[in-house]
Symmetry: C2
Subunit: 231 residues, 2 copies
DNA sequence: CGAATTCTTTGCGCCATCGCAAGAATGGTT
DNA sequence: AACCATTCTTGCGATGGCGCAAAGAATTCG
Protein backbone atom coordinates (compact mmCIF):
# COMPACT_ATOMS: atom_id res chain seq x y z
CA UNK A 1 0.00 0.00 0.00
CA UNK A 2 1.94 3.01 -1.22
CA UNK A 3 1.43 6.23 0.68
CA UNK A 4 2.99 9.23 -0.85
CA UNK A 5 1.08 11.51 1.49
CA UNK A 6 2.61 9.81 4.54
CA UNK A 7 5.40 12.30 4.81
CA UNK A 8 2.93 15.09 5.33
CA UNK A 9 0.53 13.09 7.41
CA UNK A 10 3.27 12.41 9.91
CA UNK A 11 3.48 16.03 10.86
CA UNK A 12 -0.08 16.50 11.95
CA UNK A 13 -1.33 16.85 15.49
CA UNK A 14 -2.98 13.47 15.47
CA UNK A 15 0.36 11.74 15.13
CA UNK A 16 2.40 13.91 17.41
CA UNK A 17 4.77 12.07 19.71
CA UNK A 18 4.17 8.84 17.90
CA UNK A 19 7.18 7.10 16.41
CA UNK A 20 7.45 6.82 12.64
CA UNK A 21 7.25 3.06 13.03
CA UNK A 22 3.99 3.26 14.89
CA UNK A 23 2.62 5.79 12.45
CA UNK A 24 3.42 3.33 9.73
CA UNK A 25 1.48 0.65 11.57
CA UNK A 26 -1.42 2.98 12.09
CA UNK A 27 -1.51 3.92 8.45
CA UNK A 28 -1.45 0.30 7.44
CA UNK A 29 -4.88 -0.26 8.86
CA UNK A 30 -6.24 2.57 6.75
CA UNK A 31 -7.24 2.49 3.15
CA UNK A 32 -7.32 5.17 0.52
CA UNK A 33 -10.35 6.67 -1.02
CA UNK A 34 -10.90 9.04 -3.86
CA UNK A 35 -13.90 11.18 -4.47
CA UNK A 36 -15.03 13.20 -7.42
CA UNK A 37 -16.18 16.76 -7.04
CA UNK A 38 -19.61 17.07 -5.41
CA UNK A 39 -19.58 13.53 -4.02
CA UNK A 40 -20.34 13.01 -0.37
CA UNK A 41 -17.97 11.28 2.02
CA UNK A 42 -20.88 10.99 4.39
CA UNK A 43 -24.22 12.58 5.10
CA UNK A 44 -25.45 14.23 8.24
CA UNK A 45 -27.19 11.73 10.54
CA UNK A 46 -25.49 8.75 8.97
CA UNK A 47 -24.01 6.44 11.60
CA UNK A 48 -20.41 7.54 12.05
CA UNK A 49 -18.51 4.61 10.64
CA UNK A 50 -15.30 6.03 9.32
CA UNK A 51 -12.66 8.55 10.19
CA UNK A 52 -10.83 10.45 7.48
CA UNK A 53 -7.73 12.45 6.86
CA UNK A 54 -7.90 14.51 3.71
CA UNK A 55 -4.78 14.17 1.61
CA UNK A 56 -5.73 16.24 -1.41
CA UNK A 57 -8.60 18.40 -2.56
CA UNK A 58 -11.09 20.30 -0.45
CA UNK A 59 -14.10 19.21 1.53
CA UNK A 60 -17.00 21.20 2.83
CA UNK A 61 -18.66 20.31 6.12
CA UNK A 62 -22.29 21.34 6.09
CA UNK A 63 -25.04 21.22 8.66
CA UNK A 64 -28.68 21.60 7.79
CA UNK A 65 -31.37 22.54 10.22
CA UNK A 66 -34.80 21.02 10.70
CA UNK A 67 -36.34 23.76 8.61
CA UNK A 68 -34.02 23.20 5.69
CA UNK A 69 -31.52 25.97 6.24
CA UNK A 70 -27.92 25.12 5.55
CA UNK A 71 -24.80 26.16 7.35
CA UNK A 72 -21.28 25.74 6.04
CA UNK A 73 -19.39 24.94 9.18
CA UNK A 74 -15.92 24.55 7.80
CA UNK A 75 -13.78 23.84 4.82
CA UNK A 76 -11.32 20.99 5.19
CA UNK A 77 -7.95 21.24 3.46
CA UNK A 78 -5.08 18.76 3.40
CA UNK A 79 -3.88 17.40 5.79
CA UNK A 80 -6.78 17.68 8.21
CA UNK A 81 -8.76 14.94 9.89
CA UNK A 82 -12.53 14.97 9.67
CA UNK A 83 -15.35 12.73 10.74
CA UNK A 84 -13.77 12.61 14.18
CA UNK A 85 -17.05 11.62 15.80
CA UNK A 86 -16.35 8.14 14.51
CA UNK A 87 -13.77 7.94 17.27
CA UNK A 88 -16.63 7.80 19.73
CA UNK A 89 -19.16 5.02 20.01
CA UNK A 90 -22.66 5.10 18.66
CA UNK A 91 -22.49 8.52 17.18
CA UNK A 92 -23.95 9.90 14.01
CA UNK A 93 -22.25 12.45 11.86
CA UNK A 94 -23.45 15.90 12.88
CA UNK A 95 -22.54 17.27 9.44
CA UNK A 96 -22.34 16.26 5.83
CA UNK A 97 -18.95 16.11 4.11
CA UNK A 98 -18.90 16.92 0.44
CA UNK A 99 -15.95 17.03 -1.91
CA UNK A 100 -15.58 20.52 -3.37
CA UNK A 101 -13.28 19.18 -6.04
CA UNK A 102 -11.75 15.81 -6.70
CA UNK A 103 -10.25 14.58 -3.45
CA UNK A 104 -8.21 11.83 -1.90
CA UNK A 105 -8.33 10.78 1.72
CA UNK A 106 -7.01 8.17 4.09
CA UNK A 107 -9.82 6.31 5.83
CA UNK A 108 -10.15 4.15 8.89
CA UNK A 109 -13.20 2.15 9.75
CA UNK A 110 -14.65 2.79 13.16
CA UNK A 111 -13.55 -0.56 14.51
CA UNK A 112 -10.03 -0.07 13.19
CA UNK A 113 -9.65 3.36 14.66
CA UNK A 114 -11.04 2.29 18.00
CA UNK A 115 -8.58 -0.56 18.25
CA UNK A 116 -5.82 1.86 17.42
CA UNK A 117 -6.92 4.21 20.16
CA UNK A 118 -6.63 1.40 22.69
CA UNK A 119 -3.31 0.18 21.34
CA UNK A 120 -1.72 3.61 21.02
CA UNK A 121 -2.84 5.75 23.95
CA UNK A 122 -0.88 8.67 22.61
CA UNK A 123 -3.16 8.61 19.61
CA UNK A 124 -6.16 8.93 21.91
CA UNK A 125 -4.53 11.82 23.70
CA UNK A 126 -3.88 13.57 20.43
CA UNK A 127 -7.47 12.99 19.41
CA UNK A 128 -8.57 14.55 22.67
CA UNK A 129 -6.45 17.54 21.87
CA UNK A 130 -7.92 17.93 18.42
CA UNK A 131 -11.45 17.69 19.71
CA UNK A 132 -10.68 20.12 22.50
CA UNK A 133 -9.55 22.57 19.86
CA UNK A 134 -12.76 22.08 17.94
CA UNK A 135 -14.80 22.74 21.03
CA UNK A 136 -12.87 25.93 21.52
CA UNK A 137 -13.29 26.98 17.96
CA UNK A 138 -17.03 26.61 18.03
CA UNK A 139 -17.38 28.22 21.43
CA UNK A 140 -15.44 31.08 19.95
CA UNK A 141 -17.53 31.27 16.84
CA UNK A 142 -20.67 31.04 18.91
CA UNK A 143 -19.46 33.96 20.96
CA UNK A 144 -18.62 35.91 17.85
CA UNK A 145 -21.92 35.46 16.17
CA UNK A 146 -23.68 36.36 19.39
CA UNK A 147 -21.83 39.57 19.96
CA UNK A 148 -20.34 40.90 16.76
CA UNK A 149 -21.60 42.53 13.62
CA UNK A 150 -21.67 40.77 10.33
CA UNK A 151 -18.92 42.92 8.88
CA UNK A 152 -16.49 41.96 11.59
CA UNK A 153 -17.43 38.31 11.48
CA UNK A 154 -16.91 38.27 7.75
CA UNK A 155 -13.53 39.97 8.06
CA UNK A 156 -12.45 37.40 10.62
CA UNK A 157 -13.65 34.52 8.52
CA UNK A 158 -11.84 35.72 5.44
CA UNK A 159 -8.65 36.18 7.39
CA UNK A 160 -9.06 32.68 8.76
CA UNK A 161 -9.54 31.29 5.29
CA UNK A 162 -6.58 33.22 3.99
CA UNK A 163 -4.55 31.75 6.79
CA UNK A 164 -5.67 28.26 5.86
CA UNK A 165 -5.22 28.44 2.14
CA UNK A 166 -3.91 31.87 1.27
CA UNK A 167 -1.35 32.09 -1.51
CA UNK A 168 0.79 35.16 -1.90
CA UNK A 169 0.73 36.58 -5.39
CA UNK A 170 2.11 39.84 -6.75
CA UNK A 171 -1.32 41.39 -6.40
CA UNK A 172 -2.04 40.28 -2.87
CA UNK A 173 -3.06 37.24 -0.88
CA UNK A 174 -5.25 35.01 -2.93
CA UNK A 175 -7.84 32.92 -1.10
CA UNK A 176 -7.70 29.69 -2.93
CA UNK A 177 -11.19 28.39 -2.29
CA UNK A 178 -14.20 28.34 -4.57
CA UNK A 179 -16.63 29.90 -2.13
CA UNK A 180 -19.77 31.61 -3.32
CA UNK A 181 -21.40 34.52 -1.53
CA UNK A 182 -23.91 32.02 -0.29
CA UNK A 183 -21.13 29.89 1.19
CA UNK A 184 -19.56 32.82 2.95
CA UNK A 185 -22.96 33.87 4.24
CA UNK A 186 -23.53 30.42 5.70
CA UNK A 187 -20.16 30.45 7.36
CA UNK A 188 -20.70 33.70 9.21
CA UNK A 189 -24.41 33.34 9.73
CA UNK A 190 -25.92 35.94 7.44
CA UNK A 191 -27.40 36.21 3.96
CA UNK A 192 -25.72 36.28 0.61
CA UNK A 193 -27.06 39.79 0.07
CA UNK A 194 -25.33 41.16 3.07
CA UNK A 195 -22.08 39.44 2.14
CA UNK A 196 -22.28 40.81 -1.36
CA UNK A 197 -22.86 44.33 -0.10
CA UNK A 198 -19.97 44.18 2.34
CA UNK A 199 -17.58 42.79 -0.22
CA UNK A 200 -18.59 45.49 -2.68
CA UNK A 201 -17.91 48.09 -0.06
CA UNK A 202 -14.51 46.64 0.72
CA UNK A 203 -13.73 46.47 -2.94
CA UNK A 204 -14.55 50.14 -3.36
CA UNK A 205 -12.21 50.85 -0.46
CA UNK A 206 -9.45 48.93 -2.19
CA UNK A 207 -9.20 46.31 0.52
CA UNK A 208 -9.95 43.33 -1.64
CA UNK A 209 -10.64 42.24 -5.13
CA UNK A 210 -13.60 39.91 -5.23
CA UNK A 211 -14.61 37.88 -8.22
CA UNK A 212 -16.98 35.06 -8.76
CA UNK A 213 -16.11 32.45 -6.15
CA UNK A 214 -12.67 33.83 -5.57
CA UNK A 215 -11.02 36.73 -3.86
CA UNK A 216 -7.72 38.50 -3.49
CA UNK A 217 -6.89 40.41 -0.37
CA UNK A 218 -5.11 43.55 -1.45
CA UNK A 219 -4.62 45.12 1.94
CA UNK A 220 -4.79 42.57 4.77
CA UNK A 221 -4.16 45.15 7.42
CA UNK A 222 -7.43 46.84 6.56
CA UNK A 223 -9.31 43.63 7.20
CA UNK A 224 -7.45 43.06 10.42
CA UNK A 225 -8.52 46.48 11.53
CA UNK A 226 -12.16 45.73 10.82
CA UNK A 227 -11.82 42.37 12.53
CA UNK A 228 -10.35 43.79 15.69
CA UNK A 229 -11.25 47.40 16.16
CA UNK A 230 -13.71 48.08 18.89
CA UNK A 231 -17.28 49.27 18.22
CA UNK B 1 -10.45 9.65 51.32
CA UNK B 2 -14.20 9.22 51.66
CA UNK B 3 -16.24 9.75 48.54
CA UNK B 4 -19.92 9.80 49.06
CA UNK B 5 -20.47 11.08 45.54
CA UNK B 6 -18.71 8.06 44.08
CA UNK B 7 -21.89 6.16 43.58
CA UNK B 8 -23.20 8.83 41.27
CA UNK B 9 -19.89 9.54 39.63
CA UNK B 10 -19.68 5.96 38.50
CA UNK B 11 -22.66 6.35 36.26
CA UNK B 12 -21.34 9.13 34.12
CA UNK B 13 -20.15 8.86 30.56
CA UNK B 14 -16.55 9.40 31.49
CA UNK B 15 -16.45 6.16 33.45
CA UNK B 16 -18.53 4.05 31.17
CA UNK B 17 -17.22 0.54 30.58
CA UNK B 18 -14.66 0.95 33.31
CA UNK B 19 -14.76 -1.53 36.16
CA UNK B 20 -15.70 -0.29 39.63
CA UNK B 21 -12.24 -1.26 40.80
CA UNK B 22 -10.58 0.86 38.16
CA UNK B 23 -12.92 3.73 38.86
CA UNK B 24 -11.88 3.50 42.44
CA UNK B 25 -8.25 3.72 41.41
CA UNK B 26 -8.98 6.67 39.17
CA UNK B 27 -10.80 8.48 41.92
CA UNK B 28 -7.95 7.87 44.30
CA UNK B 29 -5.69 10.13 42.32
CA UNK B 30 -8.22 12.94 42.59
CA UNK B 31 -8.75 15.25 45.47
CA UNK B 32 -11.81 17.10 46.64
CA UNK B 33 -12.34 20.78 46.46
CA UNK B 34 -14.99 23.06 47.82
CA UNK B 35 -15.81 26.51 46.64
CA UNK B 36 -17.95 29.24 48.05
CA UNK B 37 -20.49 31.04 45.95
CA UNK B 38 -18.95 33.44 43.43
CA UNK B 39 -15.48 31.90 43.67
CA UNK B 40 -13.71 30.91 40.47
CA UNK B 41 -12.48 27.41 39.79
CA UNK B 42 -10.39 28.90 37.03
CA UNK B 43 -10.25 31.94 34.80
CA UNK B 44 -10.34 32.13 31.06
CA UNK B 45 -6.81 32.06 29.58
CA UNK B 46 -5.32 30.42 32.66
CA UNK B 47 -3.15 27.44 31.75
CA UNK B 48 -5.43 24.42 31.93
CA UNK B 49 -4.02 22.56 34.88
CA UNK B 50 -6.92 20.69 36.37
CA UNK B 51 -9.91 18.71 35.34
CA UNK B 52 -13.08 18.72 37.44
CA UNK B 53 -16.23 16.82 38.04
CA UNK B 54 -18.84 18.79 39.88
CA UNK B 55 -20.38 16.83 42.74
CA UNK B 56 -22.65 19.46 44.25
CA UNK B 57 -23.72 23.03 43.55
CA UNK B 58 -23.80 24.84 40.24
CA UNK B 59 -21.09 26.35 38.11
CA UNK B 60 -21.32 28.88 35.33
CA UNK B 61 -18.97 28.74 32.37
CA UNK B 62 -18.41 32.17 30.94
CA UNK B 63 -16.48 33.46 27.97
CA UNK B 64 -15.58 37.08 27.53
CA UNK B 65 -14.65 38.69 24.25
CA UNK B 66 -11.82 41.05 23.49
CA UNK B 67 -14.18 44.00 23.75
CA UNK B 68 -15.43 43.02 27.18
CA UNK B 69 -18.70 41.37 26.29
CA UNK B 70 -19.60 38.31 28.26
CA UNK B 71 -21.27 35.13 27.18
CA UNK B 72 -22.68 32.51 29.48
CA UNK B 73 -21.86 29.34 27.62
CA UNK B 74 -23.30 26.80 29.97
CA UNK B 75 -24.36 25.96 33.45
CA UNK B 76 -22.73 22.90 34.99
CA UNK B 77 -24.78 20.76 37.35
CA UNK B 78 -23.76 17.59 39.21
CA UNK B 79 -22.39 15.20 38.03
CA UNK B 80 -20.80 16.80 35.01
CA UNK B 81 -17.13 17.12 34.09
CA UNK B 82 -15.74 20.51 33.22
CA UNK B 83 -12.34 21.92 32.41
CA UNK B 84 -11.90 19.10 29.92
CA UNK B 85 -9.27 21.02 27.99
CA UNK B 86 -6.88 20.03 30.73
CA UNK B 87 -6.95 16.60 29.14
CA UNK B 88 -4.97 18.02 26.28
CA UNK B 89 -1.46 19.37 26.44
CA UNK B 90 -0.52 23.01 26.58
CA UNK B 91 -4.00 24.37 26.50
CA UNK B 92 -5.53 27.32 28.26
CA UNK B 93 -9.05 27.39 29.56
CA UNK B 94 -11.30 28.94 26.93
CA UNK B 95 -13.81 29.91 29.60
CA UNK B 96 -14.02 30.98 33.22
CA UNK B 97 -15.72 28.70 35.73
CA UNK B 98 -17.46 30.38 38.60
CA UNK B 99 -19.42 28.82 41.45
CA UNK B 100 -23.01 30.02 41.40
CA UNK B 101 -23.48 28.74 44.93
CA UNK B 102 -21.35 26.79 47.29
CA UNK B 103 -19.95 23.82 45.41
CA UNK B 104 -17.93 20.65 45.75
CA UNK B 105 -15.95 18.98 43.02
CA UNK B 106 -13.54 16.17 42.40
CA UNK B 107 -10.31 17.42 40.87
CA UNK B 108 -7.43 15.87 38.97
CA UNK B 109 -4.23 17.67 38.19
CA UNK B 110 -3.26 17.69 34.57
CA UNK B 111 -0.37 15.31 35.08
CA UNK B 112 -2.57 12.91 37.04
CA UNK B 113 -5.30 12.87 34.45
CA UNK B 114 -2.87 12.43 31.61
CA UNK B 115 -1.28 9.43 33.26
CA UNK B 116 -4.73 8.01 33.75
CA UNK B 117 -5.56 8.47 30.09
CA UNK B 118 -2.52 6.43 29.15
CA UNK B 119 -3.15 3.77 31.76
CA UNK B 120 -6.87 3.43 31.05
CA UNK B 121 -7.46 3.77 27.33
CA UNK B 122 -11.17 3.39 27.85
CA UNK B 123 -11.04 6.59 29.82
CA UNK B 124 -9.49 8.33 26.85
CA UNK B 125 -12.16 6.94 24.57
CA UNK B 126 -14.85 8.19 26.88
CA UNK B 127 -13.22 11.58 26.97
CA UNK B 128 -13.24 11.60 23.19
CA UNK B 129 -16.92 10.88 23.28
CA UNK B 130 -17.62 13.69 25.71
CA UNK B 131 -15.65 16.16 23.67
CA UNK B 132 -17.31 15.00 20.49
CA UNK B 133 -20.64 15.74 22.11
CA UNK B 134 -19.48 19.20 23.07
CA UNK B 135 -18.38 19.90 19.54
CA UNK B 136 -21.79 18.85 18.37
CA UNK B 137 -23.56 20.94 20.91
CA UNK B 138 -21.75 24.09 19.92
CA UNK B 139 -22.05 23.41 16.24
CA UNK B 140 -25.73 23.07 16.89
CA UNK B 141 -25.98 26.23 18.92
CA UNK B 142 -23.93 28.05 16.33
CA UNK B 143 -26.36 26.91 13.69
CA UNK B 144 -29.30 27.96 15.81
CA UNK B 145 -28.09 31.41 16.51
CA UNK B 146 -27.25 31.85 12.86
CA UNK B 147 -30.63 30.85 11.58
CA UNK B 148 -33.28 31.25 14.23
CA UNK B 149 -35.10 34.06 15.91
CA UNK B 150 -34.48 35.01 19.47
CA UNK B 151 -37.85 33.76 20.64
CA UNK B 152 -37.23 30.28 19.41
CA UNK B 153 -33.68 30.18 20.72
CA UNK B 154 -34.89 31.28 24.11
CA UNK B 155 -37.63 28.66 24.15
CA UNK B 156 -35.10 25.98 23.29
CA UNK B 157 -32.70 27.14 25.94
CA UNK B 158 -35.32 27.18 28.65
CA UNK B 159 -36.45 23.71 27.70
CA UNK B 160 -32.84 22.57 27.83
CA UNK B 161 -32.40 24.09 31.27
CA UNK B 162 -35.65 22.58 32.47
CA UNK B 163 -34.40 19.25 31.25
CA UNK B 164 -31.15 19.69 33.14
CA UNK B 165 -32.54 20.93 36.41
CA UNK B 166 -36.30 21.06 36.14
CA UNK B 167 -38.28 20.08 39.22
CA UNK B 168 -41.92 19.18 38.95
CA UNK B 169 -44.12 21.08 41.35
CA UNK B 170 -47.90 21.30 41.61
CA UNK B 171 -47.79 24.55 39.67
CA UNK B 172 -45.54 23.40 36.85
CA UNK B 173 -41.93 22.63 36.07
CA UNK B 174 -39.67 24.82 38.10
CA UNK B 175 -36.31 25.74 36.63
CA UNK B 176 -34.05 25.51 39.56
CA UNK B 177 -31.34 27.94 38.50
CA UNK B 178 -30.75 31.50 39.64
CA UNK B 179 -30.45 33.01 36.17
CA UNK B 180 -31.04 36.68 35.58
CA UNK B 181 -32.44 38.11 32.36
CA UNK B 182 -28.90 39.12 31.57
CA UNK B 183 -27.72 35.52 32.00
CA UNK B 184 -30.42 34.17 29.72
CA UNK B 185 -29.63 36.86 27.18
CA UNK B 186 -25.97 35.84 27.15
CA UNK B 187 -26.88 32.22 26.69
CA UNK B 188 -28.99 32.77 23.60
CA UNK B 189 -27.04 35.69 22.20
CA UNK B 190 -29.37 38.62 22.68
CA UNK B 191 -29.98 41.44 25.13
CA UNK B 192 -31.66 41.43 28.48
CA UNK B 193 -34.36 43.74 27.14
CA UNK B 194 -35.39 41.33 24.48
CA UNK B 195 -35.42 38.44 26.95
CA UNK B 196 -37.54 40.43 29.34
CA UNK B 197 -40.02 41.33 26.64
CA UNK B 198 -40.34 37.76 25.45
CA UNK B 199 -40.79 36.39 28.94
CA UNK B 200 -43.44 39.02 29.64
CA UNK B 201 -45.25 37.99 26.52
CA UNK B 202 -45.12 34.32 27.45
CA UNK B 203 -46.31 35.15 30.91
CA UNK B 204 -49.31 37.01 29.53
CA UNK B 205 -50.06 33.94 27.42
CA UNK B 206 -49.96 31.78 30.50
CA UNK B 207 -47.01 29.71 29.32
CA UNK B 208 -44.70 30.50 32.20
CA UNK B 209 -44.49 32.30 35.45
CA UNK B 210 -41.28 34.30 35.60
CA UNK B 211 -39.96 35.92 38.72
CA UNK B 212 -36.71 37.48 39.71
CA UNK B 213 -34.03 34.93 38.81
CA UNK B 214 -36.46 32.08 38.69
CA UNK B 215 -39.15 30.68 36.52
CA UNK B 216 -41.89 28.10 36.43
CA UNK B 217 -43.02 26.56 33.20
CA UNK B 218 -46.77 26.27 33.35
CA UNK B 219 -47.39 24.84 29.93
CA UNK B 220 -44.30 23.12 28.50
CA UNK B 221 -46.07 22.14 25.33
CA UNK B 222 -46.47 25.78 24.43
CA UNK B 223 -42.75 26.31 24.64
CA UNK B 224 -42.08 23.19 22.62
CA UNK B 225 -44.35 24.54 19.95
CA UNK B 226 -42.45 27.81 19.81
CA UNK B 227 -39.17 25.93 19.79
CA UNK B 228 -40.11 23.70 16.90
CA UNK B 229 -42.78 25.22 14.78
CA UNK B 230 -41.62 26.36 11.41
CA UNK B 231 -41.39 30.06 10.43
C1' DC C 1 -20.71 30.30 -30.57
C1' DG C 2 -24.96 31.20 -28.50
C1' DA C 3 -28.24 29.65 -25.02
C1' DA C 4 -28.90 28.13 -20.54
C1' DT C 5 -27.39 28.12 -16.01
C1' DT C 6 -25.40 29.85 -12.10
C1' DC C 7 -23.64 33.47 -9.46
C1' DT C 8 -23.48 38.39 -8.17
C1' DT C 9 -24.98 43.10 -7.44
C1' DT C 10 -28.01 46.64 -5.82
C1' DG C 11 -32.38 49.43 -5.02
C1' DC C 12 -36.02 49.39 -1.87
C1' DG C 13 -39.19 48.62 1.84
C1' DC C 14 -39.61 46.22 6.12
C1' DC C 15 -39.11 44.52 10.74
C1' DA C 16 -36.80 42.12 14.47
C1' DT C 17 -33.90 43.50 17.65
C1' DC C 18 -31.22 46.88 19.95
C1' DG C 19 -30.30 49.99 23.72
C1' DC C 20 -31.30 54.14 26.39
C1' DA C 21 -33.93 55.92 30.08
C1' DA C 22 -37.02 55.98 33.70
C1' DG C 23 -39.66 53.79 36.82
C1' DA C 24 -41.41 49.54 39.20
C1' DA C 25 -40.64 45.33 41.68
C1' DT C 26 -38.03 42.33 44.56
C1' DG C 27 -35.15 40.80 48.23
C1' DG C 28 -31.77 41.57 51.61
C1' DT C 29 -30.08 44.48 55.57
C1' DT C 30 -29.95 46.95 59.86
C1' DA D 1 -40.30 49.22 58.95
C1' DA D 2 -37.61 51.95 56.17
C1' DC D 3 -33.70 51.74 53.10
C1' DC D 4 -30.53 50.17 49.59
C1' DA D 5 -28.97 47.48 45.90
C1' DT D 6 -30.27 44.66 42.28
C1' DT D 7 -33.07 43.12 38.97
C1' DC D 8 -36.89 43.61 35.91
C1' DT D 9 -40.23 45.96 32.79
C1' DT D 10 -41.62 48.81 29.10
C1' DG D 11 -42.11 52.97 25.97
C1' DC D 12 -39.70 54.85 22.28
C1' DG D 13 -36.68 55.95 18.61
C1' DA D 14 -32.85 54.07 15.86
C1' DT D 15 -30.87 50.69 12.73
C1' DG D 16 -28.55 46.66 11.10
C1' DG D 17 -29.64 43.25 8.45
C1' DC D 18 -33.21 40.73 5.75
C1' DG D 19 -35.05 39.28 1.48
C1' DC D 20 -37.65 40.14 -2.82
C1' DA D 21 -37.02 41.41 -7.45
C1' DA D 22 -34.76 42.46 -11.42
C1' DA D 23 -30.80 43.33 -13.95
C1' DG D 24 -26.00 42.31 -14.84
C1' DA D 25 -21.63 39.19 -15.02
C1' DA D 26 -19.35 34.87 -15.44
C1' DT D 27 -19.38 29.85 -16.62
C1' DT D 28 -20.97 25.75 -18.58
C1' DC D 29 -22.77 23.05 -22.11
C1' DG D 30 -24.71 21.52 -26.31
Amino acid sequence: MPFEPVSRVEEITLFKNISPGDIHLILQSAHQKRMDAEEFFFLQDDPAEAFYILTSGKVRLTQYTADGQQLLLRVIVPVTPFGAVALADHERYPVSAQAMESCTAVVWSKSAIQQLLIRFPQLAMNAVKILAEHVQEFQQRFTEIATQRVERRLARMILRLAHQTGVKTPRGVEVNLPLSRQDLAEMVGTTLYTVSRILSQWESQGLIHAGREKMIILYPHGLVKIAEEET
